[in-house]
Symmetry: C2
Subunit: 217 residues, 2 copies
């Protein structure tokens, strides 16, 4: 089972390494990090590079596609070479998945028209503008498309994929292997749980970081 | 506040990108990925490369050190150039931290003699053999040293560091930003919670992957 992890300028690292370290725990998977051009790809805060070991043309038919989010998605919403590849690959996948604002690219490619999907809570409106039906939920399943909410939710999405494809015991084994028994020291992981001033602070901070590239700002 | 993220051959990606994406959410931090030599560093399953942007000598005095785990730790337990750097850097840090088997390197450097610490649940015995006092806990604090349990626990460790240093509201804002509201589809994230056959399966799998380099196998 070949799994393609898409990279692009200004992606979010945890969005893609979370699912990778979950899915890669299974001995039956083959991982390939892919971008328009092979080589180092810089993350959204310009603090790290992950290497794309292959270019898009070298990975025409993965079984699973994982698209991370990141501030870089906004610059790609009309970038046909990438959207064409996503559309083409999707025809043959067993699962097409996204984390965070990665679902904006699925929507821009026309794969989520009218379909229930999720994204980072701050991008829900934009996801709707792109034709999807934003719904609550940390992992939203629509046929073979799995979309996950913000950043860390890719871990849950990948575990759910394993559960669907390989069963509960496989998911349990992977969860135990990565010791995924969360104990956050505070409880503000969603806009519904966080105090309102914190929601406003994070909203303002993200809007500022995203300025110039976000069409719904 | 400069944060050094250590890379070495056969590290675990989520161990280091988890803390990075948490700590890097704060505008007051500067991130640097560091390894003995700068350039791409391959992870433990040979499926991805993260780039070290600096060599050890270029990062003599970070404020925070984050050491990830990975099967590669075992080959470094007597590697003095790295252990010397860890000891030297630790003298000036505000926090010295590890995720998963990264604590084996702290112990090998002599920084955990008799100190309470944690690691991946499968490496607890080895951590004790190296002089530390393995204790239960997802994040264990001992003065300025924070050790975290397996792989995904680095997210909780980094949030705890933010809570200690910057307060509850900063931790809440970061948690909301990465939408860390975990919903694993199964409940087997620790050896205490997982069914016994799953614990045995994961133990056997990890021992096999680690063969040839693990001294307690």
């Amino acid at each position: 089972m070949q799994i393609a992890y898409l990279l692009y300028d200004r992606f979010t690292a945890l969005d893609i390494t979370g699912p990778h370290d979950v899915l890669n725990s299974l001995p039956v998977t083959e991982s390939v990090f892919v971008a328009e051009r092979s080589g180092p790809v810089r993350n959204e805060s310009d603090t790290l590079s992950l290497v794309a070991d292959a270019s898009l043309t070298e990975v025409p038919s993965p079984d699973v596609l994982v698209i991370p989010g990141g501030f870089g998605t906004r610059a790609l919403l009309e970038h046909e070479p990438l959207l064409d590849w996503i559309r083409s690959v999707h025809e043959g996948t067993r699962y097409t998945t996204s984390v965070c604002t990665g679902s904006l690219l699925l929507a821009a490619a026309g794969l989520l028209d009218g379909a229930p999907a999720t994204t980072h809570w701050l991008a829900r409106d934009l996801l709707g503008e792109l034709g999807a039906k934003p719904v609550p939920g940390r992992v939203v399943e629509h046929g073979k498309i799995l979309t996950a909410a913000g950043v860390s939710s890719g871990i849950d999405m990948a575990l759910r994929l394993i559960q669907i494809e390989f069963g509960d015991e496989a998911a349990q084994a992977v969860q135990l292997g990565i010791e995924y028994d969360p104990e956050p020291p505070v409880d503000a992981g969603s806009p519904e749980k966080a105090p309102q001033p914190i929601v406003e602070l994070v909203t303002a901070t993200y809007r500022a970081q995203d300025s110039g590239t976000q069409s719904d700002a």
